[in-house]
């Protein structure tokens, strides 16, 4: 059965695949079955993962900062 809509499940699956493939490559490198292409792929995947997490961290942090500054403005208005 194919999911009816392309939804968050597909995006979640993308993360799982990236993490799974990264773990597999890391395992193979640790077992010394390395080759140049696998090491480069591993570095790229780790960078992508870092970028994605960095993006979410930045987005959440900006959102929290923006909420805090809005809260301060509201408090000032109410005090006045």
């Amino acid at each position: 059965m194919i999911p009816p809509l392309l939804g968050p499940s597909t995006l979640i699956h993308v993360f799982i695949v990236i993490i799974g493939k990264t773990a597999n490559y890391a395992k193979q490198i640790l077992k010394k079955k390395k080759n140049g292409a696998k090491i480069i792929s591993l570095i790229i995947m780790l960078s992508v993962l870092l970028l994605i997490f960095g993006f979410f961290y930045y987005a959440i942090r900006s959102s929290v900062k923006s909420d805090k500054s809005n809260l301060n403005i509201m408090q000032n208005l109410l005090a006045n």
Binding site: M1, P4, V14, G20
Partner: protein, 337 residues
């Protein structure tokens, strides 16, 4: 290791010849090809007879109208240690049997799920091919890492014969027997391997009417299996996937139709973002399958997604809310391959 291929068929005169040739011309020949004719009324039997001793042709006593009945009957004649299931409209890639043999050499593997590609015909089959490309290269791969393959496709599956015969009873109480088998195998703790190199090419509906009817069967079968296997699964990966797919399907299908009524401006913005995300995935699919025609099928693909959502809700209402168990098998029309 003796490997059999089991092919149930009914009125497959346009496609069965190429299907059988692909089974015969394997790099590692199958030891046995069992073709089960479900009382076809067209030229299927005369075409099959021309293959002589290269296949074992058996006939059901009367038309069963249901693939799982035909498979159950055909399994009695299978003598291989491993049997591959495929359909009468499907072409196996040349090294399909060889790849299955390699996977089955691992005694811990009970079943193998292959990779299905849709034969090119028109924009509807292109849309189906997009779905296959995304679901098999992203969803199914993630399920592989979660140790829960959602479904072993009926057109590209392989099983250990004796264990299947003794432990898996055919129940014929759902419209998607492949989903039923797969869930039961997971509950019994059998290992299912997913191999993207075991490729087959299948014919998918080429008209909107037959597409809609097939989706009705798939989603009805999906809900029937959901209700049948609803016991809390022990595998965390299984619980996660089932919740994700069914819950997401339900929630987002409802939202897709209610949002425009609640807030048209917001729903247009969300729709445009959704189209952009689909575009990215379609590009991924086109690159992966080397099918540039996917790009041109994009508008049709978005339309079919909304049709899917409607049918998903319709079948949820019929199977879950009303409890109507529809077991009428729908067979899409064939085109010559």
């Amino acid at each position: 290791m003796k490997i059999s291929i089991l092919i149930p068929c009914y009125n497959e005169e346009l496609t069965i010849k190429r299907c059988i040739y692909s089974c015969i011309n394997q790099s590692r020949p199958a030891d046995e090809i069992v073709v089960v004719n479900d009382s076809s009324t067209d030229k299927t039997v005369s075409i099959l007879k021309r293959f002589g001793s290269q296949i074992r042709l058996v006939h059901t006593i009367k038309n069963t109208g249901n693939k799982s009945h035909v498979q159950e009957y055909g399994l009695k004649f299978v003598t291989g240690d491993v049997f591959i299931t495929t359909d009468g409209d499907t072409i196996l890639e040349k090294d399909f049997v060889s790849i299955i043999e390699k996977d089955m050499r691992d005694s811990s593997v009970f079943a193998v799920a292959g990779y299905v590609r849709s034969l090119k015909y028109n924009w509807i089959t292109s849309c189906r091919a997009i779905d296959y490309a995304i679901s098999q290269n992203i969803d199914k791969l993630a399920q592989h890492y979660l140790n829960f393959i959602f479904v072993i496709p009926g057109a590209a599956g392989a099983f250990r014969t004796e264990i299947f015969r003794n432990k898996i009873l055919f129940t014929h109480d759902t419209l998607t027997e492949d989903l039923d088998f797969t869930y039961r195998l997971h509950k019994m703790g059998y290992k299912i391997k997913y191999n993207r190199k075991a490729i087959c090419y299948t014919q998918d509906p080429s008209t909107l009417k037959s597409y809609v009817n097939q989706m009705r069967r798939w989603f009805a079968g999906g809900w029937q299996n959901f209700l049948k296997h609803f016991n809390i699964p022990e595998k965390p990966g299984m619980a996660f996937e089932l919740s994700l797919i069914y819950l997401e399907g339900l929630v987002f299908s409802v939202l897709a139709f209610i949002m425009p009524i609640i807030n048209l401006y917001l729903s247009v913005r969300i729709f445009l973002i959704y189209c952009f995300i689909i575009f990215i995935f379609v590009i991924f699919g086109a690159f992966k399958e080397k099918r540039p025609d996917f790009i041109f099928a994009l508008p049709g693909y978005i339309l079919l997604k909304y049709i899917n959502a409607w049918i998903f809700l319709e079948q949820f209402f019929q199977e879950v809310i009303l409890g109507r168990k529809n077991l009428n098998w729908f067979k899409p029309g064939r085109v010559k391959i």
